[in-house]
């Protein structure tokens, strides 16, 4: 009985650990299988056996016909994601800074932003499409889709920046102001460099959420599709390992973006902590 409680605690630990590892496998296996199957041989189907190992399906992707050419949608999605990231950064820093000013109605503003996360994408997309139709505005990936996607990415950037400002020590700004800096100079020279990691985080949200966005784009892109739409259309036509190839490519693309941002954050944290010591 004396050692019993330690043992019991260990058993709970092992049980939860097993659960975690099993879940991680459960979460990753489909992704990894997708990647593996994308290298199937030319006669390979959408499941095992792979019938050889080849780059056949990637080659198919590359020399695709107009019908299932993923290159233009990929370019569109990337451009759109970059634009969304920039807009998200600017607007979320502005609005988080505004929240610090506790303007009248900031509570309502906060809930308005939350609504952007809360409202189902399919409703926003559908509603916006109806609105555009009533207003007689042409749908296009670089106008209407951009507008709708930012309403999705902005709240995430905003919450990120709020969290950053919550932990921000505004005494360093006060120090700058007492040294004669104007508010704008103090913001540019002191505040901005300090919140930069958060800004990058907001940008990452902007890029990644826009790049993968599907329900809002579905109603608002008009004739030229974004990548998720093109994938979905292809899936409706036929399921071949080509889908896996494009899926693997865009997943790799997302992971690289995350990796780059997090290593930037890491480097930045290291440099600031080095300066501190």
């Amino acid at each position: 009985m004396k050692l019993g409680w330690k043992l019991r605690s260990d058993i709970v630990g092992w049980a939860l650990g097993t659960l975690t590892v099993v879940f991680l496998a459960y979460q990753w296996l489909p992704i990894l299988t997708l990647g593996l199957l994308s290298f199937a041989g030319p006669t390979g189907g959408t499941t095992f056996p792979m019938n050889g190992v080849s780059l056949h399906w990637y080659a198919e992707l590359w020399k695709a016909t107009v019908m299932n050419d993923f290159k233009p949608p990929l370019v569109r999605s990337s451009l759109l994601a970059a634009a969304c990231a920039l807009t998200t950064i600017v607007l979320s820093v502005m609005s988080a800074q505004a929240m610090r000013g506790r303007f009248r109605g900031n509570n309502w503003f906060f809930y308005l932003m939350l609504l952007g996360i809360m409202a189902p994408g399919i409703l926003v997309g559908f509603g916006f499409a109806v609105l555009m139709r009533l207003l007689g505005i042409e749908l296009a990936w670089n106008t209407t889709t951009f507008l709708v996607q930012v309403s999705w990415t902005l709240p995430f950037g905003f919450l990120t920046m709020l969290a950053v400002f919550n932990r921000f020590d505004s005494r360093v700004e006060e120090a700058a102001l007492t040294l004669g800096a104007s508010r704008i100079t103090a913001f540019r020279r002191i505040t901005l460099p300090l919140i930069l990691p958060g800004v990058i985080g907001a940008g990452l949200f902007g890029f990644s959420l826009s790049y993968d966005e599907y329900p809002r784009s579905m109603f608002t892109t008009g004739p030229d599709q974004t990548l998720p739409l093109a994938i979905m259309a292809q899936l409706d036509r036929q399921l071949t390992p080509e889908i896996y190839a494009i899926g693997t490519t865009t997943t790799a693309f997302s992971l690289i973006a995350v990796l780059m941002c997090s290593s930037a954050l890491w480097a930045m944290r290291r440099s600031t902590s080095a300066r501190r010591s």
Partner: protein, 289 residues
């Protein structure tokens, strides 16, 4: 004092662009849908007379009603599954993993897929669930079953499996945050006050993480309720949830019917979120049970 003066005009103007954007793209369209859902007549125009006919038609159809109910039921099941899974994983990652390096590795392995496309992750389940899919191959290989089980792909069960893998992270994330915020001294204090571990958990740890649990549940609720893409890819055309119905009506150019479903969907979500906020006041963390 900071770089922004409290209640200054500047703070107001800084918020205006974002506010206008959200109003124009989120609020106006949703209000518009509510309006459209009331349009009667034959033509699709603002001049239509207002009526509840669209709603009456929807509620008169048993299939639609069943669909709405099954969407809610399906969401509830997923909330329960991801809630339990997510709490277990969050607890393990924050409380049981001692080595900071392992904790980081496991945590990254857990959250990184969040940054990839939900659509692709949904599609990734297709080769897993099919009649010749990985699961069936594995089951036959191990001798658990002789003939492949057809119940995985294009089934409610398959959809649930895929969605559980997609949304458990959302249930766990806020819990991880709340667990990290609990000072170790609180648990130790409870122990020195004669509370054994299970009691420490129920009386101290769980109540303090409750806001995280609720926020996680809200996130799962919102996402599963609105997730038509996974239903479409994994469920094929055999299964539909409320949001798929929106799509179905839209593709059939039945905008008013689509609006009705959209309004109902939005209502469900508002009710869910408001109910959650009633249970736990997120702004006042750590209230007594």
């Amino acid at each position: 004092m900071s770089t922004i003066r409290a209640r200054s005009a500047a703070s107001y103007w800084l918020a205006v662009p974002a506010a206008l954007w959200m109003l124009g793209v989120v609020v106006v369209p949703i209000v518009l849908l509510a309006w459209v859902s009331l349009w009667g007549g034959r033509t699709f125009s603002p001049a239509s007379p207002l009526t509840f006919d669209n709603y009456t038609k929807f509620f008169a159809n048993k299939t639609y009603l069943q669909l709405a109910l099954s969407t809610v039921g399906h969401t509830a099941v997923l909330m329960a599954v991801t809630g339990v899974l997510g709490y277990g994983i969050a607890y393990f990652l924050t409380m049981k993993v001692r080595s900071p390096r392992w904790r980081l590795v496991l945590f990254l392995a857990f959250v990184v897929p969040f940054w990839t496309s939900t659509l692709i992750r949904g599609i990734a389940w297709v080769p897993f669930l099919g009649v010749n899919g990985v699961i069936n191959q594995a089951l036959i290989f191990t001798g658990a079953t002789r003939s492949p089980i057809e119940a995985f792909l294009y089934s409610r069960f398959g959809i649930s499996m895929a969605q559980a893998s997609l949304y458990t992270m959302m249930a766990a994330g806020p819990v991880v945050y709340m667990l990290n915020a609990i000072q170790p001294a609180l648990r130790e204090a409870a122990m020195t006050l004669k509370a054994p571990p299970l009691v420490v958990f129920w009386r101290i740890v769980f109540p303090l993480t409750l806001p995280g649990v609720v926020i996680g549940q809200v996130l799962v609720f919102l996402n599963v309720m609105a997730d038509f893409a996974t239903v479409a890819t994994v469920g094929g055309n055999k299964h539909a949830m409320l949001p798929n119905l929106v799509l179905l009506f839209y593709e059939g150019s039945q905008h008013r019917a689509a609006s009705v479903v959209a309004v109902l969907l939005m209502a469900c979500m508002l009710i869910g979120v408001i109910a959650a906020l009633r249970v736990v006041d997120i702004r006042r963390l750590g209230a007594d049970r």
